[in-house]
């Protein structure tokens, strides 16, 4: 929200804030739309004029005398440096006067109306009329008034000053006062100029000045005056001086609270918004705009709020049951950025109802996408770790059992002698035992063997060699393509690269059931944030990305979070151990890499392995 002190412009969305601020203000607040019809009026405005908000027939031109282009005139003349008095016809037919501060409402550079904050000056006009009727009556009357009432000649010498004047300006009864001493020196040229123009018959609009008390302190005033004629000649002025500190203070407080509010909301890392029932965004801070990926507030304001939801009817579902005054909290809402990216936010707010019956939702959203992903990853990692520990524990006992099996079978084999049938059966036991041993070795293969010394290898060459070996196992009906870039060295055991590729390619072939396209690529990434954790190592901060992409059956949403779990398989019993991706995952982690999976059921799957590139 911004006020430019010079032009006093507000944007149409900022207008809502003004409405809120002045809703119950003792000052009258009006807004006129771009057709200059009344579009909003606050409580005091209704009291003052008798008009209600819905009386659209009420036009600004009914009470403001304008000539030429109204918009131009306001922009040039009514720049908020002074108050402007307007006369208007009240609902009950009485002539009313209002002294206003004006704002131009600006909608993306287009004139969208005028707002006025003012106070009732009708009383002073009535008094002026009385005063013209009877001079003697006037003086008695004037003494009673709490405001300054004066008569003076054209040189500023007072012919009359009421009691209150001395009090207001801090003078004593005996003091000799000249009118020009009662204003700050900077105002004198304008005062004298306006006096001249008034005498020449002109109506003066800018009648607000900065007055000065005897002690030098200053305060803003408005002067209502008329010419005193004697024998048909003008000899001076009579009128009222009205202290308008209160309206200036309201204006200042508004600017200050605006400034505080703006700088606070602009800096907050959370998105702040106001929307209405229909889904129009009425206010949003920069963080909100940024969170949803829009380049400017205008761009975001042009969209209905429903556009920001992943599921367009989600908003309706969440907000429909809420009554005005109720608070709401949604710990997890899925939103959609301008480019379609999904984000997860926390949404907290309150429902308001304006006196006109409009429903508003004021709230705060906080982007928790990152936290959410980390939590998911952590959960997954913890699960795998727990299973790993379990597997390690089982491995020890299981190996002992296998050991027993092997020992006794071997001894029995010796005893079997020439009994071929017995020998064959015993050899089958040994074969089964050998398979059990291999399976177990796979389960624990990810754990850190101290004797496992990784070597610096050229990834492209290694992958090339491995693919040469694997190529023969790929059915000819599958279109096999490679695109391998040389990203440099990685710190790995070649056997592990083999294990990773073998597993990924086997899965891809299975997923394609004999036909499709299998692509293996190596791409090199630039430096990125993911490398932060490896700052201590000699890692360059860059990654080689090995992708294995197939056009197979894909992985369903239900299964995608489980593919790295050990013993999780979608293959038929006996066809898969459910250990392939588990081993790949653990190997990649062991080398401080990352593994990512993208899959569309029915279209295919891409598995990407990020391996740190070494110096």
């Amino acid at each position: 929200m911004q006020f430019q002190n010079v032009s006093y412009r507000i944007s149409s969305s900022e207008r809502d804030f003004l409405r809120m601020l002045f809703q119950h203000s003792p000052l009258a607040y009006f807004e006129f739309n771009r057709f200059l019809r009344l579009s909003y009026i606050n409580e005091q405005g209704i009291n003052f004029s008798g008009y209600r908000q819905d009386e659209k027939i009420y036009r600004l031109t009914d009470f403001v005398p304008v000539s030429g282009s109204l918009r131009k005139q306001w922009e040039v003349n009514s720049t908020g440096t002074h108050l402007t008095e307007v006369g208007l016809q009240g609902k009950n037919g009485i002539r009313l006067y209002l002294n206003c501060l004006w704002w131009i409402i600006d909608n993306k550079g287009t004139f969208d109306g005028i707002a006025c904050l003012g106070f009732d000056s009708t009383r002073y006009h009535q008094m002026m009329e009385e005063l013209q009727k009877s001079t003697s009556q006037f003086k008695e009357f004037a003494q009673l008034l709490p405001e300054t009432v004066f008569e003076m000649d054209t040189d500023g010498n007072f012919l009359f000053l009421n009691e209150s004047s001395f009090e207001v300006f801090g003078y004593s009864k005996g003091d000799r006062i000249n009118a020009f001493d009662m204003f700050v020196p900077e105002e004198l040229p304008r005062i004298k100029e306006n006096m001249k123009r008034t005498l020449s018959g002109e109506k003066i609009k800018g009648n607000a000045y900065l007055a000065k008390r005897k002690d030098g302190s200053t305060f803003p005033v408005l002067i209502y005056s008329d010419i005193i004629y004697q024998g048909g000649k003008p000899i001076g002025f009579r009128g009222f001086v009205v202290d308008i500190s209160h309206i200036r203070m309201a204006e200042k407080a508004l600017l200050e609270s605006e400034e505080k509010y703006r700088s606070l909301t602009n800096r907050l890392p959370v998105g702040i918004y106001r929307t209405n029932r229909e889904g129009k965004l009425l206010y949003a801070n920069p963080a909100f705009i940024h969170m949803l990926g829009y380049d400017s507030p205008e761009e975001a304001f042009a969209h209905p709020v429903q556009d920001f939801y992943s599921e367009p009817d989600e908003r309706e579902k969440l907000l429909q049951p809420l009554e005005p005054g109720e608070e709401y909290y949604q710990p997890e809402i899925h939103l959609k950025k301008k480019d379609g990216t999904r984000i997860i936010v926390k949404d907290r707010g309150k429902v308001y109802k304006s006196p006109e019956g409009q429903i508003y939702y004021d709230g705060i959203i906080e982007d928790i996408t990152e936290t959410h992903l980390l939590e998911e990853k952590l959960k997954q990692a913890e699960k795998l770790q727990a299973i790993g520990t379990l597997a390690g524990g089982i491995a020890h006992d299981f190996n002992n059992l296998l050991m027993g099996m092997q020992l006794y079978t071997e001894m029995a084999l010796k005893e079997a002698g020439e009994n071929e049938k017995l020998r064959k059966n015993l050899e089958k036991i040994l074969l089964a035992q050998e398979r059990g041993k291999q399976l177990l070795q796979q389960i624990v293969s990810f754990t850190n063997y101290p004797e496992d010394y990784p070597e610096k290898i050229n990834l492209k060459d290694t992958v090339n060699n491995i693919l040469d070996l694997i190529k023969d196992t790929i059915p000819e009906t599958i279109d096999f393509r490679t695109d391998l870039n040389d990203c440099g060295l990685v710190n790995m055991k070649p056997v592990h690269v083999h294990q990773i590729l073998q597993n990924l390619i086997t899965n891809a072939i299975h997923a394609m059931e004999g036909k499709g396209r299998l692509t293996v690529t190596i791409r090199c990434s630039g430096k990125n944030g993911a490398a932060e954790k490896d700052r201590q190592t000699k890692h360059t901060g860059r990654y080689a990305i090995v992708s294995v992409e197939d056009t197979g059956c894909g992985i369903s949403d239900k299964n995608i979070n489980r593919i790295f779990e050990p013993f999780f398989t979608t293959k038929d019993v006996g066809l898969g151990t459910g250990l392939g991706l588990y081993i790949v995952h653990n190997l990649v982690k062991k080398y401080n890499g990352e593994i990512q999976v993208r899959s569309h059921p029915g279209e295919g799957t891409v598995l990407q392995i990020f391996l740190p590139i070494m110096e």
């Binding site: 190996n399 050991m403 071997e410």
Partner: protein
């Protein structure tokens, strides 16, 4: 023929190894845990000690440390089915502490015989 001490808390394996090696003509003694083995070593010094690593009471590492002080030095073969968390780190420790040979369970009788006879 060589005198061998087999230390393993797993009865199945302890007795299996004892039987297999006896058949090969070795004189085989058996201990069910580290404590028993250390006591046995105070009475006689075998030519070869085959010891499991993870055992209740005193473990294989303690057996190994005690055996290293003996004179003449027995050959030491450390065997293990893997640790609770990672597979072979205990064997690597045993190797560092002076085990002459390490074997990961399960292994064949032939492998064991090679380990006993290798110099």
């Amino acid at each position: 023929m060589k005198r061998i001490l087999v230390v393993d808390d797993e009865k199945l394996i302890r007795e299996g190894i004892q039987e297999a090696l006896s058949e090969e003509g070795y004189t085989v003694f058996a201990a069910a845990n580290g404590n028993e083995a250390i006591k046995a070593l105070q009475v006689f010094i075998p030519d070869v000690i085959i010891t499991d690593i993870i055992m209740p009471e005193a473990d294989g590492i303690e057996v190994l440390m005690n055996a290293k002080k003996l004179q003449p030095k027995p050959r030491i073969i450390a065997i293990s089915g893997g640790g609770r968390i990672s597979a072979n780190d205990h064997l690597a420790t045993a190797r560092k502490l002076g085990a002459d040979y390490i074997l990961t369970k399960p292994f064949s009788i032939e492998t064991l015989l090679e380990a006993i006879e290798s110099q």
